[in-house]
Symmetry: none
């Protein structure tokens, strides 16, 4: 290697820092979520049920996604233009 401690090391350091920064942010948001559940609990909601609702809605969304994908597929097969999206 021509320059020990050179370009590659700098790049590596940069990648490491970017990743660690993003992971911090992620953790921070995860903590926020936990706080919201805590607040909901303090207001009298059952955390377990609340989590289940979130999970079900996520699943519903996933199913809707599939529906749309299927729709796209059909439309494409029929030579129809896709919707203008949003």
């Amino acid at each position: 290697m021509a320059e020990p401690g050179g370009v590659a090391a700098d790049q590596l350091r940069s990648f490491v820092e970017r990743i660690e920064r993003l992971e911090e942010e992620k953790k921070s948001i995860a903590d926020d979520i936990k706080d919201v559940y805590g607040e909901a609990k303090g207001t009298g909601f059952d955390t377990k049920v609340l989590r289940q609702i979130i999970r079900m809605r996520k699943q519903d969304a996933a199913e809707r996604q599939e529906q749309e994908a299927l729709l796209d597929l059909y439309m494409h097969a029929l030579g129809m233009a896709p919707p203008a999206d949003e």
Copy 2:
């Protein structure tokens, strides 16, 4: 309950929305992290090594935390005052 579909429903909806919003953000950041790994890979770095480095640095930090926690525990067990913190 005095008002069916009333206050509680509004609160619930509010909590659900806040949580879902935060989870979206979290997912977005997770995707960013994945992108950075992809970029690093494209620059010639071995993803596996990079991940291991991240992991080890995290563990080092945790280790330091634990050391301090143990010290605190010992001091507490011995009836000594904790350090003035920071």
Copy 3:
């Protein structure tokens, strides 16, 4: 299926029994561990400190593991032969 309630059912039963047997053993050992902590507490040791020590020792071992893993990764990345192991 040629034999309803046949081979598959027997196999399933066998797997279930093996798993349940092993889980019993596991639970038994978990209880033993709890007992040891209880005994230590009765001898005057602070359980919390003891747990922390166990945790740190485990982490040290993991740390060493990780160091070696990283070394292996580097050597592999550099096309060097791995050490003759043990």
Copy 4:
């Protein structure tokens, strides 16, 4: 303390060793369980369903336990002798 590095240290070491030994055994059994699931999978069983069965049977057992506990309570309240057990 009368004997530095004395009795207490020996006891501590002993407790640590006993706990670590037991945790190793526990881990070993956990690995065995994983192996059985793997084997079941290799035989064509759906691991997820299998896990659910195990969970349900455990729950059934717990319910039966409660039933028996209740029975014992009643019998005790009625001054009846407990069953000869097993």
